[in-house]
Amino acid sequence: MAYSDKVLDHYENPRNVGKMDDNDVNVGTGMVGAPACGDVMRLQIKVSADGVIEDAKFKTYGCGSAIASSSLLTEWVKGRSLDEATLIKNKDIADELGLPPVKIHCSVLAEDAIKAAIEDVKKKRKG
């Protein structure tokens, strides 16, 4: 399969790879996918007191498109408010990376990951 230059760029130079302390009340973690399906994404965001995403980190087990989708997502969410971040749609990611139809599920997974991370941090803060 031929990959787009953007997928290759993110795959070769993934942005914001890493892990944050899950016990931090300001950190939200979204872990989506399953090894059985061939992809697992862990996306983490660090949110400021006024609800802005200050930092984002990811680790992904999956194909190149899954890695690129999560890497791109970390770039996009930084500096956005939680409300703005929820507006990111899988189609935006797929379009930006030029994903072929068989790889659309990778962008869906990335959307699921950010939603899960946001939910997690909201829940933590309430609790």
Binding site: Y3, G33, P35, R42, I67, V102
Partner: protein
């Protein structure tokens, strides 16, 4: 070194230059271009002679009578002809067929077609090592069983079945035994005088011959009957009609001649390279060889690097031509059915690489590949949340995943 490095010899092989030279002699006006079926002139006689020489060369490799060789377009056609041809011919005796879950699609899909026609098929389970035990074949035979179809060597994991032992059982039970030898001919000793095999599929392109040519071995003593699947001019004693492709056939003959001559020294050399390759990963954690290591053809290594997904690994290995059992590399998005059938969990199936070595693989290429693979696995494990969890001591089988 030339890049990319070809390490996918189980998929196909380059044509040996000696084979290509022979083939080129059968194409143009000045050369041997005639129709082997033309009986009225020199052009036909010469072409027929070349075809019969090739038939003898193929027969020599598996120690059989040249009259037992029927040319086909490849192993897929040979599998179709053997399975449907024998099942149809012996339909009055019964409509039960035995095969295994890890056969090539040419066998499995031929069996599926027979199921649609009202036949019943038993799909045997391989052992965790990837081997079909003779006992399991014996246990599956019924009074209405007419055919057992099993591969000699598996195309994904390279594991070898004990064809001789299974042949004894099928012969005792008067059941036809078909063997798909696409991956073994020219790599393992095959002796049709010793092995009680009735039908055997052969191909040229896995052993440095051209694509588009193969053969079906059809035993004469005791005589095995098949119904033709391709009707026409009655070529190949009525079993497979169609003008014989002289250049292809000559290419297969030469490839098999070379294989017979060089098989032992080549196997030794290739096995040493594979051992070197495997040793290159010895000190890495969570690396598993899929299928039996000892009962395996020399050129095949199927290996899983746990917590690294196969397609992303192949992406990092763009200057190596290898294949993967990962779902993402297949159109179906399903991981390898062979690896699943030998009991691999999904992670390991998704994390597998098939690296296959051959005649033109060098030590230098192996050393380069080891370095590249190690580097890629380390990089991707740094990126893998599963590797993190493994390092933190999390039991991944106990995690509840949100499957999608």
């Amino acid at each position: 070194m030339q890049f990319p490095i070809y390490l996918d010899y189980s998929a196909t092989t380059p044509v040996d230059p000696r084979v290509a030279a022979k083939m080129a002699e059968c194409l143009t006006l000045e050369a041997n271009f005639g129709n082997p079926a033309s009986r009225s002139h020199m052009f036909g006689w010469k072409a027929e002679e070349a075809v019969e020489t090739a038939r003898r060369q193929v027969a020599d490799l598996i120690n059989c009578d040249p009259r037992e060789i029927v040319w086909t377009s490849g192993a897929t056609e040979a599998d179709n002809l053997a399975i449907k041809g024998a099942a149809h011919f012996y339909a009055k005796k019964g409509k039960h067929i035995i095969t295994s879950k890890i056969e090539h699609k040419a066998v499995l899909d031929s069996c599926r077609q027979l199921e649609r026609e009202g036949y019943e098929v038993t799909y045997l389970d391989p052992s965790a090592a990837g081997i079909i035990s003779p006992e399991s074949v014996a246990a599956a035979i019924r009074p209405d069983t007419t055919l057992v179809s099993l591969m000699h060597v598996n195309n994904e994991i390279g594991v070898i079945n004990d064809i001789a032992a299974i042949g004894k059982i099928t012969r005792e039970n008067k059941v036809i035994f078909h063997v798909d030898a696409a991956q073994s001919a020219g790599k393992l000793e095959i002796d049709m005088e010793q092995m009680q095999v009735d039908l055997m599929s052969l191909t040229a392109h896995k052993i440095y011959g051209p694509k588009g040519i193969g053969a079906l071995y059809v035993r004469r003593k005791p005589r095995v009957r098949i119904e033709p699947q391709m009707h026409g001019g009655g070529h190949e004693r009525g079993m497979r009609s169609g003008t014989l492709a002289t250049h292809q056939i000559v290419g297969m003959g030469e490839a098999y001649r070379i294989a017979k001559e060089e098989m032992h020294s080549e196997n030794e050399r290739v096995l040493a390279l594979r051992t070197r390759l495997l040793d290159g990963f010895k000190d890495m954690e969570e690396v598993f060889v899929n299928g039996d290591v000892d009962h395996r053809v020399a050129g095949n290594l199927n290996i899983s690097f746990n917590f690294v997904e196969g397609e992303s690994l192949m992406m990092a290995l763009r200057d190596l031509a290898v294949s993967s059992g990962s779902a993402c590399t297949s159109a179906s998005l399903e991981p390898s059915y062979v690896l699943r059938a030998i009991g691999l969990n999904d992670e390991l199936a998704h994390s597998s690489l098939r690296i296959s070595l051959g005649r033109f693989t060098s030590e230098e290429e192996i050393d380069y590949s080891i370095g590249k693979i190690r580097e890629a696995v380390e990089k991707l494990r740094e990126l893998s949340p599963l590797w993190d969890m493994f390092k933190d001591g999390v039991d991944l089988s106990q995690v509840k995943w949100a499957a999608h």
